[in-house]
């Protein structure tokens, strides 16, 4: 005969087991912060100089156009070395890292990304002098990406 406490423990345990896989299958703001830390290290991350363009309301999370532009003279002495983009709620926090230099002339890149949920996106620019600049944007997604196979 089971005691009521055992049953309660079992129910709580079963609830945790069913919830945990979902909790770990998504990046969290903490995971994003950890991924950013890996890029920035001990450097200081400041807001500004970066412009992150993406629609505030997204109907289809499978294809979200995104443009990152950074104010920089892009000369050999002073240029943007890398642009990184991170998200909060996709399965992984990293979106892409682009490496560029004075040969690019302009620190502007565009691509299309997937978003699993309404969330915050952050773009970080790393300059040749070792400074980090950032911009973030909040996006509302009505149809999420990567839920199931549609084929």
């Amino acid at each position: 005969m089971r005691s009521p406490l055992d049953r309660r423990t079992f129910v709580v345990g079963a609830a945790l087991v069913s919830v945990l896989p979902f909790a770990s299958a998504h990046a969290t703001p903490e995971a994003m912060a950890a991924a950013i830390k890996e890029v920035v290290g001990e450097g200081m991350l400041r807001e500004g100089r970066v412009k992150l363009d993406l629609p505030p309301l997204v109907e289809n999370g499978n294809v979200v156009p995104l443009t990152v532009s950074v104010e920089s003279p892009m000369t050999a002495a002073d240029h943007v070395k890398a642009i990184h983009v991170f998200n909060e709620k996709n399965p992984q926090p990293h979106v892409f890292s682009a490496r560029l230099g004075s040969r690019n002339g302009k620190a502007v890149i565009g691509t299309r990304i997937k978003l699993a949920d309404s969330q915050k996106i952050i773009a970080i620019a790393e300059t040749s002098s070792g400074a980090f600049w950032s911009a973030s944007a909040d996006v509302i997604v009505t149809l999420a990406a990567c839920i199931e196979d549609v084929t």
Partner: protein
Amino acid sequence: MTNILVNAPKTARPGEIVEIKALIMHPMETGFRPGTNGRIIPRDIIEHFVATWNGTEIFRMEMSPAIATNPFVSFFAVATESGTIGLRWTGDKGFLAEEQVAITVG
């Protein structure tokens, strides 16, 4: 066969900043989605995109599964000399695709 679409100017003045746009057909399967049989579809993505100008690397991008299906990338380059712009995509399952476009500077 891989379908690649590249949009870059055919001619440019020396020192002009030109935009290069590249689109490639690829499923960019995230590795997080279950298929119709309930099993996770294995990851199949493009991990690296590299652009060269007459063999010199000018731009590189490391992609995560969060890049949309049929990856599109646009970036800028200073037109230094006539030659070829080389684009190269590599990824999972030994994926490799290359494309070259000619540009005349002068």
